[in-house]
């Protein structure tokens, strides 16, 4: 894949991820999160994973972003205009940068040359053959549906008026 396309998409992804954690108003960070999720969908598309790109757009920017917007508007925040305290962010910067440097050393130290270019491994049909195969992934798939049902019931229970008191 063309390196120019990859650089543009990854630059958009990184900048919007920085925008999520650094913008002052929480609504702006929700909107940058939407941009970031769409560009991650673009990364999937250049990796020949078009099914996941569609799923990403549907589930994240269709569902999760709407949920986050509702939560932002329902919890009126008193710290939208305040900067974070320097004493708060110092250990966070230290932990995140130590983690990143360690992982980067590991990645640079290894040789990834044996893996050749994005292979076209098929799309929706092949993923469906994997998911709905009894010997492969059908049991995790059904358990996922149970997890989603449990999460839905739990969210309804927690969101009721009486649950808060």
């Amino acid at each position: 894949m063309n390196i120019i396309v990859f650089s543009i998409i990854s630059a958009i992804t990184i900048l919007s991820a920085i925008g999520v954690i650094s913008s002052q108003r929480i609504m702006h960070s929700v909107l940058s999160l939407a941009v970031m999720l769409l560009s991650v969908a673009a990364v999937y598309a250049i990796l020949n994973a078009e099914f996941l790109a569609v799923i990403q757009v549907l589930v994240y920017t269709g569902g999760v972003i709407v949920l986050l917007l509702f939560a932002t508007m329902l919890t009126r925040s008193d710290l939208q205009l305040k900067r974070e305290q320097p004493s708060d962010i110092k250990p966070a910067v230290a932990a995140a940068s130590i983690f990143a440097i360690g992982l980067l050393f590991y990645i640079v130290g290894n040789n990834w040359k044996s893996l050749k270019g994005p292979a076209v491994v098929g799309s929706v049909k092949n993923i469906g053959m994997l998911i709905f195969n009894v010997k492969k992934d059908v049991i995790p798939f059904e358990i996922i549906s149970l997890v989603l049902l449990a999460a839905m019931v739990g969210a309804i229970f927690l969101g009721r008026k009486e649950a808060g008191q």
Partner: protein, 102 residues
Amino acid sequence: MIEVTVFYYLVLSVIIFSIGAYGMLSSKNGVRLLMSIEIMLNAVNINLVAFSSFQGNLTGQVFAAFTIAIAAAEATVGLAILLALYRSFGTVNLRKISKMRW
């Protein structure tokens, strides 16, 4: 023209994951904490899809689809918990919600 290998995707994923980890450790707002967790899950998904695509093995993409489903469930429950917290404490400032903190 430089060929984009799996190395570039790994570096991109590390950068995004570290941004998410920093946001998770430093944010005071509960909604922003949940967004940082979503960023970290997306970084992991980029890794899974990159290795799946470069190895020609679709199992990584199935894993990534499962991760997306789990992330949706996590966001739902997390936001419901935040709404319940807001109802009882009147704020989503994580530094002020300290009733059960040791």
